[in-house]
Subunit: 298 residues, 3 copies
């Protein structure tokens, strides 16, 4: 009879040349490695996961099954303290199943990431970042650590998330948006931005420290947001002012209502193919609370 | 008598250690490779081309002669579908002669690029991008694919080009500019920006979806462009408003006219050393049409 | 008796596999290398310096003692002329002691950098950049070369510094800030920005060419700065206008004065733990002049 433990301990199913594999590494079935990979001590890679060439997985990192890590990534990178002091206080980096981490991305130790996680290329995610399920972080985005992203959050390319930010479920953030955190730079009294469910922050908007962006609000491109934003409000300008309510907006060409977007768009979302209302109606109260959307009245 | 076919099939003239070379790879004369290069099946590299260390050239990529590819690049990267489904539908990536692709750049399969192409470091160019001749794309720029760049287009660092964008010949785009494409984010009804010949988009400007930026217009730094812009117009502000005509602008110090820029600047341009009018007068009608500048009256 | 010269010439104390080491390389004591490193001819690495895997140190680069260079860096990269013409005019790149250069950073030949230098990931620094001591350059920042940074300058992530910029001591610059240099793009008549000591440029501000930003001024987030800024002035908006004096500003929550920031913040600064006034009073006139702060009256 087969003993899976023995097989799991046997190494990757396939590996390129010049890979360096540490001690106590756990390989699920059918794990494959490219060339020149460095897999440090205590790493765990789930079944069917593939690591491309030149990628470094630091000590203790855990990656779920059916994942793909591109070339030139560093997962579980040590923070500055390690670099400067030469001591190793490794916190785990854990990444759920079905991750797709594109080439050149750097994820620090000390974060926890859910399943179906996706990144673009050359993303940086610092320590103490908590990320839910089905989250996508675009190319060159820079998460400064010590922040929380919910489920189904989608960051486009080149988004900058300051420390202490809190981003709820179903939020969309577009390129070059910055969530700041220092009201009187330079200081050490940080105040994070809180973005509520379904909010949309369009390209190049900058949000001042400590503000709340209400559920379903729409921050216009290039807006400099200096006050908290009400639910459903549309704000634009520098400084940003409320100019409309998303529920009044119509598509310029089709003339149709387009917000709340959840009623008109379902790609990547749990209500894909079923529609929002059907999905929402089928949720338990607990599930609604978990998503932070228990109070939706429409 | 020499048989060039046999010599071409013989491998690179020089290569570093630990290179992995696939089947049916075509090497022109004097091709050289650094260390740890991966050259997959069916790749074709023109004469005198050099590939630096740690670079991956995926299956079927064609690069012209006299080119230089920096270290850590990935050329012909497979799109998401490949990554997720494990199937390989490789479209060709073709790059013309005399390319200079700096280190860390990632060019997807499925694009066609002309000659004298240049990139900065860590550029990302997604699939279905069509790029003419003599184009330069700066460090960290991010082309989202499914877009068209003409000839002599110059993108500075960190430019973001959304899908469906169309950029005509002789356009200059400066750092942190974004050409957006989604009028009602999130949606799937994209509308690209069309930038006409000789237009200039200064640092940090954001252009809303579906707009036309007219020939020779000048978009000021940080402008949020919400309406199409007339030829020769100067627009600034948030939202951007027309404040002048480029032909009225003078250099603050010298007091000289500076626009249309083609009459005052020739670096990198086909009229270098001869001047614009001499060059333009010498063009055939066909050539003018190819550049989209057949109607220039001055 | 021990002869240190012989030991220094003997190679690194420890190295990974597949490293390529050129001629006349000088290793201080206890230098260590990761895997696949390329150390070209004439490089000098100070004692206790560690180079991580896949990093390339080009010919003639000098790095001080107690430094750490992350993986996938290129230090001493040749400029375009080399790439295109195939000739090698290597200017030195020198980096002082105690540098921390994070992974993926590219520093060109022809620059001089002081001690305690720090970078984030994937930073690009072009040739002819002069950088003082205790300077930090954040992830993805892009210094275009031919510019001068003083001491204790701190650039956050994704800052873009145009050629001819001059940044004095104790300046803070936040993400996505651009110092531009071309008053009539495209041209070749560049005019750099001069940022005076203690100035702060908040997130996403763009500064037009040739301007002076006065000592202790505060440029608000997203400001488009079209005129020079007075010392201590607070400017915001597009175009930026003076709205206050930093000395009048108070923290929204604590109600305390927060500027000049040097009196309220000391992290990373030479007056850490002692306070600014004690430190300043203890300086010689020469030292004050070196910092450009000889005229401080308060």
């Amino acid at each position: 009879m087969e003993n899976p433990e023995i097989r799991l301990a046997a190494g990757p199913a396939q590996q390129g040349e010049h890979c360096f594999i540490g001690l106590d590494v756990h390989f699920g079935e059918n794990v494959t490695l490219g060339h020149n990979c460095v897999i440090e001590d205590g790493v765990s890679l789930g079944a069917n996961t593939h690591i491309e060439s030149n990628t470094v997985i630091r000590a203790g990192v855990q990656i779920g099954a059916n994942s793909l890590v591109g070339s030139g990534c560093i997962l579980g990178e040590y923070g500055t303290d390690f670099c400067q002091e030469g001591t190793r206080h490794v916190q785990p980096l854990t990444i759920g199943d079905s991750a797709l981490i594109r080439s050149g991305s750097i994820l620090y130790a000390g974060s926890e990431i859910g399943f179906s996680f996706q990144t673009g290329h050359q993303v940086t995610i610092r320590e103490k970042t908590s990320i839910g399920d089905h989250v996508s972080v675009g190319t060159l985005s820079d998460l400064q650590g010590n922040c929380v992203l919910g489920n189904y959050v989608r960051l486009h390319s080149n988004v900058h998330i300051g420390q202490l930010s809190r981003i709820d479920d179903f939020v969309w953030i577009y390129p070059y948006v910055v969530l700041t955190n220092d009201p009187t730079p330079p200081s050490e009294q940080f105040a994070g931005v809180h973005v509520h469910p379904f909010a949309i922050i369009a390209t190049g908007a900058i949000v001042m420290p400590g503000l709340d962006l209400g559920q379903d609000c729409l921050i216009g491109a290039g807006a400099i947001v200096t006050r908290s934003v009400d639910p459903y409000a549309v704000v634009v300008g520098n400084p940003a002012k409320t100019v409309s309510d998303v529920r009044k907006m119509r598509h310029k060409i089709t003339g149709e209502k387009v917000y709340p977007w959840r009623e008109h768009f379902d790609r990547y979302m749990p209500w894909e193919n079923t529609g929002f209302h059907t999905w929402y109606t089928g949720l338990t109260q607990e599930e609604k609370e978990k998503h932070g959307i228990e109070a939706l009245t429409e």
